[in-house]
Amino acid sequence: MTKKIYEELQENCECARICGDYAEIVPDSLPDCALFLKDNGYDYLDMITASDHIDEFILTYTFKNLKDKDDVMLRASVSRENPEIPSLSNIWIGADFQERELYDLMGIIFTGHNNLKRIVLWDGFEGHPQRKDYKNVA
């Protein structure tokens, strides 16, 4: 019994596909899906993470509705050649550091992020250590 919010999400952002307790979306439609959620009470961006599945990166976003105590999960997959996805840091300031960390460790470029530099590693570091194919260059 998928949640009501997912049905609404599917009507508004046409590219969302519901499976079980999370929604698969196309990367470019991420901002308006997020805005849609924000207007319907899911205004707390909980977590952004990414995992490297060799030919693609799967990004997972979770949102919370603090009033009705409900969670929503969005997942988007981004190809390995150009790992681009619109950034949420202008809607949620909380996304700023998490996106920079993913850029730093996973090498995913968040378009529209105003200060996308390495957060955890020093700037001269080449390569993205969290990737599966990262050979220890040093």
Partner: protein
């Protein structure tokens, strides 16, 4: 002739008495007023998430201790919950209660450290810090009695906990719980009415609820602004739905409210421990039988618990082998730090240090 003034940059750098760990902030100061702050991370980055991909599930448990080393037991919980859900392991009732008791004790000792070092940042030269550490020492003894370790407990296992409570533990814990509120009253005398404490904390580092939600802060930082959200009550995991406890919520999100929320949470933890001790079933089933090198079918899950610093989550992906495919921890302190800029800019240097201390971060979790 106009006096030419110039802003200068101060590195409140990795070696600084009140950065609670290896953390550097580059302040641009105009005299005493902070114009801009730029946090610099990475001094304690050990790549825990990459290391966990090279270890089996069980070998990953001691790694999670090293995340937020101030409240080590709470780190095990989301990881263990995630693995239990993916592998379909059931946890006996007694183990659930043991987990609750140990993590609530850990919450008290973590809040003690937070409030104690907060007072020390304000200059009361370790006095309140020392009194609180006297209590923390008793708690650490109790923890050592159960787990054998004082800091890196490595206590939780998939399907329960690693060891049963020894016989002397429960009476000692009951005695501690009876004595602790008296000591708490002592701290409150020293804190709440002290004019200088009020002068330094009331209205300092105000933080509006909308900002708190927008910056997705969590834990005492979020609750001090008036947003009433606590995972233990709103999205109960384990056996938290069996206890009744109330969630302290601040009014105007300043340093005073954060200290008040932490002190109240300590009292609520004592209440939870009392109820847990009564409700704990007897017997000696503290863990269900699970092989050491567990093989988990393909899948992913995201589990969250309420750690003393906020919502500590573990996103786990498994691919059927005995090693996690991807394990990401949502570190509450790391995300609370994004609130640093909105809180600090415009404050004085002395206030900036206290506001930064009230966010209560532990660098192991921030840098991972």
């Amino acid at each position: 002739m106009s006096l030419r003034t110039e802003e200068f940059v101060v590195n409140v750098g990795p070696q600084h008495p009140s950065t609670h760990g290896v953390f550097r902030m580059r302040f641009t100061l105009d005299g005493e007023i902070v114009k801009d702050v730029e946090p610099i991370f990475g001094y304690l980055h050990r790549g825990v998430e990459k290391l966990m991909e090279m270890r089996t599930y069980k070998q990953g448990i001691p790694m999670t201790d090293r995340l937020d080393y101030v409240s080590a037991i709470n780190n095990n919980w989301p990881y263990v919950l995630a693995v239990e859900e993916l592998a379909g392991i059931s946890v006996p009732q007694r183990a659930e209660f043991m987990r609750v008791i140990m993590s609530e004790m850990q919450r008290i000792s973590s809040h003690i450290l937070a409030v104690g070092s907060q007072m020390n940042d304000m200059g009361s030269f370790y006095t309140v810090f020392m009194y609180m550490f006297r209590e923390r020492e008793k708690l650490t003894d109790l923890m050592e009695m159960v787990t054998g370790q004082r800091m890196m407990y490595n206590y939780m296992r998939f399907g329960g906990v690693s060891m049963d409570f020894p016989a002397e533990f429960v009476p000692q814990l009951k005695k501690f719980i009876k004595v602790f509120p008296k000591y708490m009253a002592e701290y409150e005398d020293m804190l709440y009415d002290n004019e200088i404490f009020l002068a330094r904390t009331k209205g300092v580092g105000c933080f509006k609820p909308e900002d708190a939600i927008n910056i997705s802060t969590s834990g005492p930082v979020l609750r001090s602004t008036g947003v009433d959200y606590d995972l233990r009550r709103d999205k109960p995991y384990s056996v938290y739905d069996k206890f009744e406890f109330d969630v302290p919520v601040g009014k105007n999100g300043d340093v005073y409210d954060r200290v008040w929320v932490r002190m109240e949470e300590m009292k609520q933890s004592v209440r939870i421990i009392e109820q847990a001790l009564d409700m704990m079933p007897g017997g000696n089933r503290f863990c269900s039988k699970v092989p050491v090198a567990l093989h988990i079918p393909e899948g992913f899950t995201y589990k969250e618990i309420e750690s003393p610093r906020g919502m500590l989550g573990c996103y786990l992906e498994s691919d059927g082998s005995d090693k996690p495919y991807r394990c990401h921890f949502r570190a509450p302190a790391f995300i609370n730090l994004t609130a640093l800029k909105t809180m600090l800019v415009g404050q004085k240097l002395a206030d900036a240090i206290i506001i930064f201390g009230s966010v209560d971060l532990s660098m192991g979790e921030v840098d991972r």
